[in-house]
Symmetry: C2
Subunit: 177 residues, 2 copies
């Protein structure tokens, strides 16, 4: 089977970091941004000074979409992923695993404040020093899809508990979860 347009794009494209993300995570990071106050101030998005002017007006938004390069992701050709807390293997593109053909990560995080070329945010699910590729505003009217669902996660036993893990919300394990 031949794939259209494939020949003309074999070489790929080069992306260049516009800054980096500072986080306390050196060896481990949560699966998704953590929605809690703890750690606020330890998470900073540093935009290289040459791009700082592009941050103008961004502080008018509550949330921002960070696009980054998961440079520590595993180089793997696997097309399945096994998300945490499930034994099922699912298709890679139905997962948010960082181990992807192009390890481009996306996180939607809340802006705390912007000072100069630094965005202070609520915790982000990335390793310290992660190269930043882009910043976009999260626009409620466009990006909230009110009728969206949780896909294959819907049917999982203990979904609520899984979601607390995914969102990094501290919770009680005393009932044997």
């Amino acid at each position: 089977m031949t794939d259209k347009h494939k020949d003309e794009r074999n070489d790929g494209f080069t992306v260049r970091p516009i800054g980096y993300i500072e986080s306390p995570y050196k060896d481990w990071a949560p699966y998704q941004p953590v929605e809690q106050e703890k750690g606020l101030g330890q998470f900073q998005v540093h935009v290289d000074s040459e791009y700082a002017a592009g941050l103008k007006n961004l502080d008018r938004f509550k949330y921002v979409i960070l696009v980054f390069f998961c440079d520590k992701a595993a180089k793997s050709d696997a097309l399945t992923a096994r998300p945490p807390w499930t034994t099922r293997k699912i298709g890679l593109f139905a997962s948010r695993s960082p181990d992807r053909p192009n390890p481009i990560g996306i996180s939607i995080v809340r802006i705390h404040k912007i000072e100069g070329n630094v965005i202070y945010t609520w915790p982000i699910d990335v390793f310290d020093g992660t190269p930043l590729l882009d910043i976009k505003p999260y626009i409620a009217t466009l990006d909230i899809k009110a009728d969206a669902d949780d896909g294959w996660i819907e049917g999982l036993e203990g979904k609520e508990h899984l979601m607390q893990h995914l969102r990094g919300i501290p919770h009680d394990h005393s009932e044997g979860h």
Copy 2:
């Protein structure tokens, strides 16, 4: 001013398309995905056959996040953008303009059906043949930020009308908008 981590990442990273997006737009494209039935079937996300297995389980979701490379974006060093229907210049990272340091585009679109290595979607705001970099599930619990806002767009005169344009919704211009 020196920027930390900068030396070690001057060369950038290479991203390689995993497929392409087929759309009817050759010379013009809407600013955001169009939420209407019209054109359904003309919009297809083609994943190269070697990656098709990664689509497993994706059809369990209503929405998908497409990550693509805007290879037709203007090469510009400008750090401001002038979005349509406003005369204001805003910071580039507070806009969704494709003319960015790394022209990586993100669109959240509704899945119509998936057959083999093709995702049929509702209209997408991209040119025909746009190189596809990644596909991620839009997960309601994680990606709906219910308290998000529309940032600088909130204060614009005629915001509702602007949003109809941004969303590509056909509407009445008879009142002189």
